[in-house]
């Protein structure tokens, strides 16, 4: 064929939009008439990564929505079953790449339940401190992203990132990496706090209240934000419980469930913090609950930084090389910023886990997306997705 023939040849059928499968349950006649089917994603600015929402629109109103994910699947669980326990630790960083510290902790906790290792006092404090700092990082970023989805051109996001950088600096000087911390170990932590770290952390935490005040002044009372988010994407408490939603999303629907209170893992029973609850379960509640949780986290951090004792940071029985837990199974779960993050492990006594299973909060919280979006507009669907707080690394694993 000559070049001109090639150019004028009909498009390959695979590229033809018309023959793409329609979302299940929508007949051609339905979609072709008044309705408009739009595939939002995987290349869309506000799907927080490679995620697709197949939405059927009536005008601007969503009448059907199907979340499609798996674009970032990397076989995390199977890889973990074929490698040593320790070697899975850096992979957990990449699940929810905003909160590597809490991912580390959840995995370390389940291995500790499997082996009976007990982290020393100082390590427990360090874990609480890093976990709460991670909560600050995650919630700060999330409200920035949420407002970005709402169309606030970068300003809240930049303020959020400015503040997040301070905490990432702390993480870097502690663990060597800003986001992929790979810091916790079975029975403790990898490295002790460097000199001056506690003072620096106290300074960052001390300044956080002011940042939150400024952020509230910037946007929380903004009429547009209030109008955009109140009454949008309502998640009833019953549906939330039935769909096993966890984390701030569940608490925004008014259900009092926080693993830090319910499980009292680590040393959380020493901290008298409060759990904010929403009454409406809409986007505004999810936004505000996160802001209020950050203020509680700041209180926890102030107490922990004050009380942290000296001492060893890892259980002396912990082995780096030749780590083989006894045969058995264990489930460790923590309240990570996005919800309940759990690791279920079965050991057969070999250096590799026999079964390794992650309970990712992002994925499970995402399952109610359609229920929240139906009857809302496209613009709402985008911010509802933003308020769910997903990280595709964790959804797809």
């Amino acid at each position: 064929m000559s070049e001109s023939e090639l150019l004028s040849a009909p498009a390959p059928t695979a590229m033809n939009y018309e023959i793409r499968p329609k979302p299940a349950g929508t007949s051609d006649a339905e979609v072709g008439g008044e309705l408009l089917e739009v595939a939002m994603g995987p290349h869309h600015p506000s799907t927080h990564g490679v995620f697709r929402m197949d939405v059927v629109l009536d005008g601007e109103q969503v009448v059907k929505l199907k979340p499609v994910f798996g674009y970032l699947h990397r076989n995390h669980e199977k890889i973990a079953e074929n490698t040593t326990y320790l070697a899975s630790m850096p992979y957990t960083d990449r699940l929810d790449y905003l909160c590597s510290m809490t991912n580390n902790w959840a995995y370390a906790l389940s291995v500790e339940r499997l082996t009976g290792l007990i982290p020393p006092e100082r390590a427990e404090y360090i874990r609480v401190i890093t976990a709460e700092l991670t909560r600050l990082v995650n919630h700060t970023c999330l409200i920035g992203f949420l407002l970005q989805d709402m169309g606030a051109l970068g300003t809240p996001l930049m303020y959020a990132f400015r503040q997040r950088e301070l905490i990432l600096d702390l993480f870097e000087s502690l663990s060597g990496s800003r986001m992929m911390c790979n810091y916790m170990r079975f029975g403790g932590c990898r490295a002790d706090l460097p000199a001056g770290w506690l003072e620096q952390a106290a300074q960052v935490v001390g300044g956080y209240g002011q940042f939150l005040d400024e952020f509230q002044a910037l946007i929380s009372e903004n009429e547009i934000l209030v109008a955009r988010s109140q009454g949008v994407g309502v998640l009833p408490a019953e549906l939330a419980i039935n769909s096993s939603i966890t984390g701030p999303m569940l608490r925004a629907s008014g259900v009092n469930f926080d693993l830090r209170k319910a499980d009292r893992y680590g040393i959380y029973d020493r901290f008298p913090f409060r759990v904010p609850l929403g009454d409406h379960g809409d986007v505004y509640d999810r936004y505000m609950i996160r802001l209020l949780e950050m203020r509680e986290s700041v209180k926890i951090l102030e107490q922990a930084l004050r009380e942290i004792p000296a001492g060893p940071i890892i259980d002396p029985k912990a082995k780096i090389r030749g780590f083989r837990p006894k045969a058995g199974e264990a489930y460790g779960r923590i309240e990570c910023p996005k919800g309940e993050l759990g690791f279920y492990l079965i050991s057969d006594g070999s250096p590799n886990p026999y079964r390794y299973r992650v309970r990712p909060p992002s994925l499970i919280n995402l399952t109610v997306l359609e229920d929240m979006c139906l009857g809302q507009t496209v613009a709402d669907a985008v911010i509802i997705l933003g308020s769910v707080d997903i990280v595709l690394g964790e959804v797809d694993r």
């Binding site: 009536d58 005008g59 109103q61 009448v63 009833p236 549906l239 229920d371 139906l374 009857g375």
Partner: protein, 174 residues
């Protein structure tokens, strides 16, 4: 003076023809908008500033958009309009055409072009003069037209109302 007039007339007529004959409805609507704009230019050339600008503001700015919206909301304008006008309405169409033609013919026949009376040059009227005339001499027609348009708007709202309720009722309850 003659050349711009010729260009504008040709543009207006050709786009009007295209508006009637093109297959794609959206193209037709765009050509109609061009026709209306051409008419506005002709008004301007005749020194009727207010009429010309109002023509653009109302017809190109609003009516053309309305037409386009109507096309999109009925059949998306993607496919060529293959549907032929139903047979029984051509009589009505012809009637309207004849009526319009009659009105135009009468206007032209009674104008200075046909009667041969010399045109009276009153100078170009300002917008202020026009406003004065509308508010004094022609205030009754103005009010009647206003009432008519209000009635039409209300009618449109009433027609649109049930349609607006359908999606809300169709939305599943949770």
């Amino acid at each position: 003076m003659e050349i711009p007039f010729a260009i504008l007339t040709a543009l207006t007529l050709v786009s009007a023809l295209a508006a009637m004959s093109l297959r794609n409805l959206v193209h037709c609507a765009l050509c109609l908008a061009l026709t209306l704009a051409g008419l506005a230019a002709l008004y301007l050339q005749l020194g009727a500033q207010f009429a010309g600008f109002a023509q653009i503001l109302v017809y190109v700015g609003a009516v053309a958009i309305l037409v386009v919206f109507a096309i999109l909301l009925t059949n998306r304008g993607d496919q060529a309009a293959a549907t032929r006008a139903p047979a029984r309405s051509w009589v009505t169409g012809a009637g309207i055409a004849v009526a319009v033609f009659a009105v135009l013919a009468r206007v032209i026949l009674t104008s200075s072009l046909a009667t041969g009376h010399p045109m009276v040059d009153r100078g170009s009227p300002t917008v202020k003069d026009l406003g004065m005339q509308l508010m004094t001499q022609y205030v009754l027609p103005l009010e009647v037209i206003g009432l008519l348009l209000t009635a039409a708007t209300l009618g449109a709202v009433i027609i649109a109302l049930p349609e607006k309720k359908t999606p809300a009722a169709a939305a599943p309850n949770h």
